[in-house]
Subunit: 171 residues, 2 copies
Amino acid sequence: MKGLVEVYTGDGKGKTTVALGIAFRALGHGYKVYMIQFMKSVCSGECIQATKTKNFKIKSFGRASFVNKDNPDPLDIECAKEALNFAKEIVIEGRYDIVILDEINVALDFKLIDIASVIDLIKNKPDHVELIFTGRHAPQEIIDVADLASEIKEIKHPLSKGVSSRKGIEY
Amino acid sequence: MKGLVEVYTGDGKGKTTVALGIAFRALGHGYKVYMIQFMKSVCSGECIQATKTKNFKIKSFGRASFVNKDNPDPLDIECAKEALNFAKEIVIEGRYDIVILDEINVALDFKLIDIASVIDLIKNKPDHVELIFTGRHAPQEIIDVADLASEIKEIKHPLSKGVSSRKGIEY
């Protein structure tokens, strides 16, 4: 199977979640999946479940503190670069059929990592590896090289009505 | 935890997939999840994986043939009603924390089932049960009573470029 490049972006709920669903479905067919999370230090329900799931790994890179878009801390840049280097290793190695680069769109939008090196990663990926990009504000350059892109738009969200984030649903 | 009503609609790829991701994350926290599929006779990767996954069940109702929106076969109406009745049992019983009504939006749009009985199901659900609605063309009445709604819009899709549907990714 030829692996494509898929992008899930937009302001609505469901970008990381759709990637988890892709993983779940692919695991059923015996594929191996790696989710690499950019700008995340806490990974909750999905990480607990991944430890119980064969052929699915998740690794998070990031710090607990809020990343300042206008003036990111050097440590945040360091974490994002580390995530990208790790992603390159996993992708090039080719042992995982699907590699999810979770929130990488945001890391690109915040300029924590360089778009040229990500385009390079896409161009040099083994043919069978599927790459999934998630996060708001996917750069146009990524959408241009992607095979599939969906925008998840918020129609309504309970957090804007004062319902707090709920364990097992939002995280 | 108070269970909400979530809707995932739109023409883009990822509606059923996001529901699978919600299931995956929630399972990590020990919640029980039931996915009831309307208008589907074939369930592939996700069903294989569900059989390997504790606390997650999927049941499909539907026929292999294409449903004619303008003149649906009585058997299609029968299948959709059966799915809704089964959903009612599962929801009211309250043993499953999250009940996914996969493609129910389409069954409503095709008028295979009655919107009043679905609104009724939402109103009578146990407080802790989360309901997830997926499928294109979610009726406005469902969005109105939902707590959260996201629209998944297609930006680009490989099937329109002639790439055929791929096992483990699209199904």
